[in-house]
């Protein structure tokens, strides 16, 4: 079992706590930023029936009916490009994804945590690097020209706190005070006032990257877990039972509490009726994925995402976390490969799914982590580093390396990999080339960042 640093565990706990508590939590280190989106008003409603909890954020004035109408209207418009942001939590070790087996310092920096030259397959754009076998699924997509590799992504004056660095990536600025996510700002300026599905976290909580100031966004934990379920109820009794929920809600009453409880029942029923392309019917899943996914939560979420897009749900920016914990301070060898393999194989299945459904031209997936890890290993793990690895996956991804691998000969003053590509360059490129909007009002200092061609 790999051990993770207290900072990571505590920052995860604190982040979770703040999102719920709103106030009263002290910073665990001086100057620790508040996660974007803290204090957003929250409104919950249901996506199709009583099981699929869709939590809508930032729509306190909208009635559920308005949201449904907004979703329906957005769904009837032209199909929009979709960006999927996949986060590898904890700071993934880039040198264990694309291993610099051709760099002469690699063996001395990584006496035990390295693959031997030739153990993986060659990275065709830089012969110093090799794909680690655990990331072979990405290599397959790269060989098809569907992955742009960023071998050393980061920013100047890198911060090695999980919390702070992740926050920078989430708000799209090296600004501890940022309260809104970079995707949230995009939606604020170019999104819809009443379609919460435009920004969707496939998680129980909203990703801070999607925290918006004015438009509704949403989180849904498991889109496949929907449909009402009642023990011992089946066949022709099911439908009348579920319909009765709404019928009982319409009963008039003078009592305030009864009225509130009945109103919620009618809302449950109304959403169950109006949003339903994904609902399981009579115990059978609502859709069968055209490809085989592994049986894990990340794969299930990606499979649901493909089905939601295929069903025409109006999604634009989607966030989810990859499986695993990449904060591998110790015992790195015992967990990293499995976590990485699970993540990469699900991404490959997702890409194949989109291709089967004819959606591959409309979806781009960004894969990122808050930082890379230190090139020089400790006893059996690696500590927090600076530049890390990132990927853009999709049929429209340029398939060309962005930036370059800086080599292990000249590390920064802390012994960390130097960044050769700023994450904000990537954000600006995605906003301008993929979404077709001006990055200037969204990414602070946008004009100062390079704009490499991202798309094919």
């Amino acid at each position: 079992m790999a051990r993770h640093c207290d900072d990571f565990t505590r920052s995860e706990a604190l982040r979770h706590g703040i999102a719920q508590a709103g106030r009263g939590l002290r910073p665990i280190e001086a100057g620790m930023p508040t996660p974007a989106g803290t204090g957003l008003t929250r409104r919950s409603l249901m996506l199709r029936g009583a099981a699929a909890g869709l939590t809508v954020y930032g729509a306190s004035k909208l009635m559920p009916e308005a949201l449904e109408a907004g979703i329906a209207e957005a769904a009837s418009g032209p199909a929009q490009p979709v960006l999927v942001s996949v986060f590898l939590p904890g700071g993934v070790d880039g040198l264990s994804v694309l291993a610099p087996t051709g760099d002469e310092r690699f063996a001395s920096l990584r006496p035990t945590l390295r693959i031997a030259r030739g153990a993986g397959k060659a990275f065709t754009e830089d012969d110093r690097l090799e794909w680690t076998p655990a990331a072979d699924a990405l290599r397959v997509l790269h060989s098809e020209g569907k992955v742009s590799v960023i071998p050393a992504i980061g920013y100047d004056h890198p911060d090695q706190s999980h919390f702070t660095s992740r926050h920078f990536w989430e708000v799209g600025a090296t600004d501890v005070q940022g309260r809104f996510g970079w995707l949230g700002r995009y939606l604020d300026q170019h999104g819809s006032a009443d379609n919460p599905l435009q920004g969707l976290s496939l998680d129980s909580n909203l990703s801070p990257a999607l925290a918006a100031g004015g438009v509704p966004v949403a989180a849904v934990d498991d889109p496949q877990d929907f449909g009402l379920w009642a023990p011992g109820v089946w066949g022709g009794v099911e439908d009348p039972l579920f319909s009765a929920i709404g019928a009982l809600g319409t009963l008039p009453t003078e009592d305030g509490a009864l009225r509130a409880a009945r109103r919620v029942a009618t809302q449950v029923d109304s959403i169950r009726r109006s949003l339903g392309p994904l609902q399981a019917v009579a115990g059978k899943p609502a859709f069968t994925a055209p490809v085989t996914y592994a049986d894990n939560r990340f794969a299930r979420r990606l499979s649901s995402l493909a089905a939601m897009l295929d069903a025409g749900l109006p999604l634009r920016a989607v966030t989810l976390d990859a499986p695993g914990n990449y904060d591998t301070h110790s015992g790195q060898a015992s967990t990293l490969a499995d976590d990485l393999r699970e993540s990469c194989e699900a991404l490959l299945a997702f890409q194949r799914d989109l291709e089967h459904r004819g959606l591959a031209g409309r979806v781009l997936t960004l894969v990122w982590s808050e930082f890379g890890r230190r090139p020089r290993q400790n006893a059996d793990g690696t500590d927090h580093g600076a530049a890390g690895v990132g990927f853009v996956v999709g049929n429209r991804a340029g398939g060309r390396m962005l930036g370059e691998f800086p080599g292990l000969a000249k590390l920064d003053e802390h012994g960390n990999l130097r960044s050769t590509f700023d994450f904000r360059s990537l954000y600006c490129g995605l906003l301008e080339q993929w979404f077709g909007v001006d990055a200037g009002p969204i990414i602070p200092g946008a004009a100062g960042f390079a704009r490499p061609a991202l798309l094919s």
């Binding site: 009583a50 011992g232 109820v233 009982l248 008039p252 305030g256």
Partner: protein
């Protein structure tokens, strides 16, 4: 608590309705009352001073011990609350009620839900037979320690719960007490104090500190508010949650001092205290500390006299070298404290605000008894407003514990941990220091949690089609489902609508071979429908 959130946001509605003349009169009356109270307070303070002089040495030593000793901080007592030494004479419902309570089944049901976690089979009839006064007193003054009736709680694998170690088991452990305790009001008050002195494990971190605090709240559940506040003030979970351990001379942290006034004893927006009072009171609470140990967390909570501010502090216009125990006592002696406590207690049991006479009578019962909680709760539970006023939405854990009690199901799975969370109330994790927002218990997402909870309660006892009646009518089916759930009273319109639903469930036709099995399926559907209907989500 909702009551406070309303207070904090808006001025009391009462003020808006007053005419200018009335306002003037009220202000005058208030000023006079305040002056009288100040006089009385000064007199009291002088008397106290004299008394204190007499036994200066002893008092100083005692105070030092109370404020600084390690013993009062380390709260490890998990014994059930001892019975009160003497049971006070019955408190009449205050003021003399305009209408008497006709205490029948619906009234007994409401009492059991508001002052506990709903009825177990037989409870309603038992209380009806006792009559209102005896029924209320049996709840408010339980005899002896609490017994937990029924099988001990188990997780999904049949193992005992591990509240210290396994995620969610802390809350399930408490849920089990709510289900099984034969002193339901003690558990309900413990929940109320958890909401009142809301402390979240999210920040505290340690399950043990939270469980220790839980024992503290239970120990004082129906006892003295002064004792409760004294112990909460030095409770490690609270010291951690509201930064008491970061509050030191020269570098005060106002977090606890502010909340003790705003949320615990006086209320915001009532003119009870100023920002200066917050700053000065914080200095009185200085001195607590703890150590951080990796892998353990905060530990070794203690009072360190060297970190206490020994200067004079002026709180509510009273100046002295106030210590920790002076700090909370000053709040208790504040003229606006009693009215705050009784109204906040009232709002936990009755949704509409009490009239002025009732507030005054309750405050009298509170102050007159030396800050005892039981007489106030007794008077509230006997008040006609509880029985004839509007309904309340059941809190999620009350709803879930109640379903388990109604159906005789014991805690035999730890699924309740995520079900309670899904329903919107994760015990030991209130959303903020203001507790849960009771005005927002129901939304479509938490409704799902309640539906799922009901499904989990009912799934082990589904009606069996092989043995079920093949001739049951819709009316009979509804009666059977109601009986299964302990015969809760439905409004007439709800009962009629449920019967209609029962009819519609088999409207699609029933094959001859399926007369019994279809009716069993209908029965299962009706149990879900009744368990989750608005009438059963409220009480």
């Amino acid at each position: 608590m909702a009551f406070l959130l309303r207070k904090a946001k808006a001025k009391p509605k009462l003020k808006k309705k007053l005419t200018p003349a009335q306002k003037k009169a009220l202000a005058k009356k208030k000023a006079a009352a305040a002056a009288a109270k100040r006089k009385a307070a000064a007199k009291k303070a002088a008397a106290k001073k004299a008394a204190a002089k007499k036994k200066a040495a002893a008092a100083a030593a005692a105070k030092k011990k109370a404020a600084g000793g390690a013993a009062p901080i380390a709260v490890t007592d998990t014994l059930p609350a001892p019975p009160p030494a003497t049971i006070p004479a019955p408190v009449p419902a205050a003021p003399a009620p305009q209408r008497t309570v006709d205490f029948g089944r619906p009234q007994a049901e409401r009492l059991l839900w508001r002052a506990g976690f709903g009825p177990r089979p037989g409870d309603v009839d038992r209380l009806v037979a006792m009559g209102l006064d005896a029924a209320v007193r049996s709840l408010v003054y339980p005899q002896g320690g609490a017994s937990l009736v029924g099988p001990a709680p188990r997780d999904e694998q049949g193992q005992p719960l591990a509240p210290n170690d396994v995620w969610g088991h802390d809350g399930v452990w408490w849920l089990d007490r709510m289900v099984r305790s034969d002193q339901p009001l003690v558990e309900r008050m413990t929940l109320l104090w958890h909401d009142w002195f809301a402390t979240s494990r999210d920040k505290v971190g340690s399950a043990q500190l939270m469980l220790d605090q839980n024992a503290l709240l239970r120990r004082h559940a129906l006892g003295s508010f002064a004792d409760l506040l004294r112990d909460v003030t030095r409770d490690p979970a609270m010291l951690s949650f509201l930064d008491g351990i970061d509050n030191r001379v020269g570098s005060p942290n106002e977090n606890y001092a502010r909340e003790v006034m705003e949320l615990f004893t006086l209320g915001a927006g009532r003119g009870a205290y100023s920002e200066d009072d917050v700053r000065e009171l914080a200095r009185a609470f200085t001195g607590f500390r703890a150590d951080w140990r990796d892998g353990v967390g905060l530990t070794n909570f203690r009072f360190d006299a060297a970190r206490h501010d020994n200067g004079n502090k002026t709180v509510f216009g009273r100046t002295g070298n106030w210590g920790v125990d002076d700090g909370w006592r000053l709040c208790l002696e504040h003229p606006l404290h009693a009215s705050f406590v009784v109204q906040k207690l009232w709002s936990a049991f009755i949704p509409q605000a009490p009239d002025a006479g009732t507030v005054a009578a309750l405050a009298q019962a509170y102050v007159g008894s030396g800050h005892q909680i039981a007489p106030v709760v007794e008077a509230i539970l006997k008040h006609p407003d509880l029985y004839y006023g509007e309904r309340m939405v059941k809190a999620p854990v009350v709803f879930i514990a109640g379903l388990l009690r109604e159906t005789g199901r014991s805690v035999d799975t730890d699924a309740w941990a995520w079900l309670m969370r899904l329903a919107g109330q994760q015990l030991f994790f209130p959303p903020s220091v203001a507790g849960w927002d009771e005005s927002r218990w129901l939304d479509t997402s938490s409704w799902r949690g309640r539906w799922y909870a009901a499904a989990f309660v009912l799934r082990t006892t589904v009606a069996d089609g092989k043995t079920y009646s093949a001739t049951e009518t819709p009316e009979e089916a509804v009666d059977a489902a109601l009986a299964f759930l302990g015969s809760p009273t439905l409004t007439p319109e709800m009962r009629a609508a449920v019967v209609d639903s029962a009819r519609s469930m088999l409207a699609g036709g029933v094959p001859n071979w399926g007369q019994a099995s279809y009716r069993a399926v209908r029965q299962n559907g009706l149990r879900m429908l009744i368990a989750t209907c608005s009438d059963h989500q409220t009480c």
